[in-house]
């Protein structure tokens, strides 16, 4: 039997264009760009790529959300925080190295253009919102967009440049370090506050709440839970991008499943890597997570 050695489309050896350490502004964070035309061609906001940290280790792949694409040049950008061995190994990749990447994977955000959009981002949940924002703005439908960013401390607020490139200033909420935040972000932010990101709901305009803005959120689970709760109470549609430990990333192992409500109030499980990572918040059983 002769079998052609076909090229697999979604698993790619991608050349690293750059892998920039964002210290000192944002210590521990890296912006990685790779040459991946297939991914750039096919990616949607909210989707992720599944990166093999190193061909010389046994580690499982690590999922990182797509932050931007340039379909002309075939370049894909992600931004990640080094928190353990996997991201540490990824941070060691240098320009010219090849990274083994599968993508784009998962279901992204719905692009809803006939309602105002409010984007909530926390920590490394912020980068994928830059991609979402670009899609909303590029839709040419004149969607009104507000961006609200939150973090424990000012240095974890990232991607401001990327938002200002698109001409939008975010509202920023930090849990501590207000004075420093004001100094850092003064001219790049619409407003800077001390408090939890959910305080922003008190500041939403009538037009945003009454005309039924769509809330998009990406960040740590406690933040998503709180944003979902507030949004749903106001009767707003809310889409959250969830994180979980992944193994295959392809929907095969059922390891990444999270509890989702049935119509009858019972729950079933859906895969973060396949049905997600973006879920309609009203379906997610946050109390079971």
């Amino acid at each position: 039997m002769k079998v052609p050695l076909s090229k697999s489309e979604r698993q790619l050896l991608c050349e690293v264009v750059e892998n920039v350490d964002l210290a000192p502004e944002t210590p521990g964070h890296f912006r990685l760009t790779v040459d991946a035309p297939y991914i750039a061609e096919n990616a949607a906001p909210g989707q992720f790529i599944h990166i093999l940290p190193s061909s010389e280790s046994d580690l499982l792949r690590r999922p990182i959300s797509i932050m931007g694409i340039d379909s002309d040049s075939g370049i894909v950008t992600v931004l990640y925080r080094v928190i353990g061995e996997g991201t540490r190994l990824i941070s060691q990749a240098e320009a010219g190295d090849k990274l083994d990447i599968i993508g784009p994977l998962g279901n992204g955000f719905p692009i809803i253009t006939d309602k105002p959009a409010v984007l909530f981002g926390g920590g490394v949940g912020i980068p994928p919102l830059a991609f979402l924002l670009k899609k909303l703005v590029d839709s040419g439908k004149g969607v009104s967009v507000r961006i609200i960013l939150g973090a424990r401390e000012p240095e974890l607020i990232i991607c401001l440049e990327d938002f200002s490139k698109i001409g939008l200033k975010p509202d920023i909420y930090v849990e501590s370090g207000l004075a420093e935040a004001k100094k850092l972000f003064g001219d790049k932010a619409l407003s800077v506050h001390e408090g939890l990101i959910t305080c922003a709901f008190d500041e939403l305009s009538d037009s945003e709440t009454k005309s039924g803005a769509v809330v998009y959120a990406c960040g740590p689970i406690p933040m998503l839970k709180a944003v979902a709760y507030k949004s749903l109470n106001l009767g707003l549609d809310c889409y959250v991008s969830l994180e979980n430990k992944l193994a295959c990333g392809l929907g095969a192992c059922l390891g990444c499943s999270i509890p989702v409500k049935n119509d009858d109030g019972d729950i079933h499980y859906e895969r973060v890597c396949r049905e997600g990572p973006v879920f309609n918040a009203s379906r997610v059983a946050f109390d079971k997570m």
Binding site: M1, K2, V3, P4, L5, S6, S8, E9, R10, Q11, L52, S55, E56, D58, L59, L60, R61, I102, N244, K245, A247, C248, G249, L250, G251, A252, C253, L254, G255, C256, S257, I258, P259, I267, H268, Y269, R274, K288, M289
Partner: protein, 330 residues
């Protein structure tokens, strides 16, 4: 470098011709004739389509589908997986949509690849397995049925069927009575001596043994002092278990006549070769699919290169273990 030098060499050399002659990899697994001796392990490969455009599926001689039960099973709560040194723990809990959806949706999708499929059967009672086998016996694209008597992640798992020779024998016999499809018994390694269980399964009519399922393990978060998973114990897979799985395959192969599928931590060509030498007629790839979804291709090419280099055949390799290392000089 994990990948052997041989492996790299062979990939390069076969790329030049852009196709590979896999006929030397044809292998007989008892009643099953496989195009390659590599099988995708149940629960690690979904139903096949998940790996489309990522994996060259034709390097697998067969694909074992995710476990199927009579009724849908929701699976275990979140979280279900945690990575551990050179492997992972899982407590998926046999989540599956039940046999009706398996037949109406999953199987037709998997069939279209033209690769022999193996259904992995689970149940709470012997009657469940028997009924499943009766239903699946009619499916022409199933090449074999695998009795999963070994899942560590459900309350009725291996303790009921996998750890007691008499009950295992009864289970296999009951399924054997209702089907003529090749029957695989997948055993649990979580026993003191697996040989009596292997004998019981064979004597009750199993054609093939799959050795083995995951090893019970545990992982504790030292801050919360809780398990990192939604159960106390979960199944360990991946490189970490390979030497133990290899020992088990060899113990059974050297104690009784029955074709064996070696399973556990196979990541490289050399791993697969060790299992063949120990007596396995085929091997399955599980956790490696998550890391290197196209590893079946590399391993097929690596085996071909080894057979060429050693001027031997797969048949001759199987069970050719030469015994303990005799150290002649110090």
């Amino acid at each position: 470098m994990w990948q052997s030098r041989d492996n790299i060499y062979i990939i390069v050399s076969y790329r030049i011709t852009m196709d590979a002659d896999l006929s030397k990899l044809e292998s007989n697994l008892g009643p099953l004739a496989l195009k390659t001796p590599l099988i995708a392990a149940s629960g690690t490969f979904g139903y096949g389509p998940e790996f489309e455009n990522v994996t060259d599926l034709h390097f697998f001689g067969a694909i074992t589908l995710k476990a199927v039960s009579l009724e849908p099973r929701p699976g275990n709560p979140y979280p279900r997986i945690v990575e551990t040194p050179s492997g992972m723990l899982n407590c998926i809990g046999l989540e599956n949509p039940g046999v009706d959806i398996f037949l109406s949706e999953k199987l037709p999708e998997a069939c279209k690849y033209g690769i022999p499929l193996i259904a992995n059967l689970v149940g709470d009672r012997i009657e469940d397995y028997r009924k499943l086998a009766e239903i699946l016996d009619r499916e022409s694209c199933l090449a074999a049925l695998e009795i999963n008597a070994s899942c560590p992640n459900v309350d009725h798992g291996f303790l009921t069927f996998g750890a007691n020779s008499a009950i295992l024998g009864e289970l296999v016999k009951s399924v054997r009575e209702v089907t003529s499809i090749p029957l695989i018994a997948k055993l649990s390694p979580n026993v003191t001596d697996i040989v009596p269980l292997a004998k019981a399964a064979r004597n009750a009519g199993a054609d093939i043994l799959n050795l083995s399922n995951t090893f019970l393990g545990m992982s504790i978060c030292i801050d919360s002092r809780k398990s990192r998973l939604s159960r106390d114990y979960a199944g360990l897979s991946g490189r970490a278990i390979r030497p133990i799985a290899l020992r088990i395959a060899h113990q059974v192969a050297s104690s009784l006549e029955i074709p064996i599928i070696g399973t556990g931590g196979i990541y490289e060509t050399t791993d697969a070769l060790e299992f063949f030498i120990a007596g396995a007629s085929a091997v399955s790839l599980g956790t490696v699919n998550f890391v290197h979804p196209n590893r079946a291709k590399d391993i097929c090419l690596g085996i071909l290169e080894y057979l060429d280099r050693k001027n031997t055949t797969l048949d001759r390799l199987i069970g050719s273990y030469e015994g303990p290392h005799a150290c002649e000089t110090f």
